[in-house]
Symmetry: D2
Subunit: 105 residues, 4 copies
């Protein structure tokens, strides 16, 4: 399944990039496939793997912020795998062309 994760610390000033970096390091060290974007991170894995990882990120950031708002959106389909890439490829195929799909071109 795919999960879109957004962690917003509050009460720490608006500069959250150092805190986000701490969370992304945890995701990077995991064995799950992921895509980091300007608005959140997409992870592909099973429910328990995803939740375990998000909890680790949430707890890490919690040590630095008094309040955290963490959003997890899980898109779960019985029949498909490798959706992090295939979802994008299928839509590109449907429109018959390339889309901007990378954070840094």
């Amino acid at each position: 399944m795919l999960a879109y994760i957004n962690i917003t610390p509050a009460g720490t000033g608006e500069e959250t990039k150092e805190l986000i970096a701490k969370a992304v390091k945890i995701i990077e060290k995991s064995e799950l496939d992921y895509q980091f974007t300007s608005m959140g991170t997409i992870i592909e894995g099973e429910w328990d793997e995803i939740i375990f990882l998000v909890k680790k990120c949430h707890d890490e950031i919690k040590t630095f912020a008094d309040r955290i708002v963490t959003t997890i959106t899980i898109d779960d389909r019985k029949d498909l795998k490798n959706r992090l890439k295939n979802n994008v490829l299928e839509v590109e195929y449907a429109i018959g062309g390339n889309l901007k799909t990378g954070g840094i071109t």
Copy 2:
């Protein structure tokens, strides 16, 4: 400002890629910078530009589905521009390395 957009049609079977393709074409033709991912699309622009574009996508998909759930998350900071790319670059700088940032590597 940055906006993360997700449009989920319901009541049309689980194959939504044809409908998503119709929405992405509209975004592609606009002049706003965007990034298409497996979970949603990130757009950079001003409030009115973003809302105008999302409404167009929503209305297009509505002609094919009886029910649509559209989520718009707007991250608005007074002081920064080009955040679609810079947010990613800053976190990469903070961790001192590259991250997976593209849907198709």
Copy 3:
């Protein structure tokens, strides 16, 4: 259509209740039906009415915070009205009993 609205100011300390109060006053003065909860506000209306109201709330809070994250989830069905109450009533009917539906019992 129904809209769930959440506005999270950042960079202002974790006490956001004064800012939320400013936004809720704007919603209260509008003619749209709403429900205020501990996590966000649900509004019922047409697309333009909802967006106009959310923009007003967003702009009001923006005068006090350097960064705001505003999430709007729109659930749009062609055929139904008065869903703020009827959605709840229908599920209560389906389970054959009452649910906790108020923030303050």
Copy 4:
């Protein structure tokens, strides 16, 4: 901590109220405090309690739908309890009046 939960089944027609009823029954039988609304359910509890409950609801609905999109927004503050009611009361106090806080008045 507070969690706002939304489960949207896809590929099952737009009438999801029977499926939502199945999930709400599970929440009702738990010992966590909750508020059911027209757009989602708010639960108050600890991380593990909340995730356990959402997983149970997600799995139950998954037996009836080929695709499910589940969103969990967790608002975690170190210092406060009983926020399901107190968040609402504090904003009412700040505006000096009552708000519409129930799904069915």
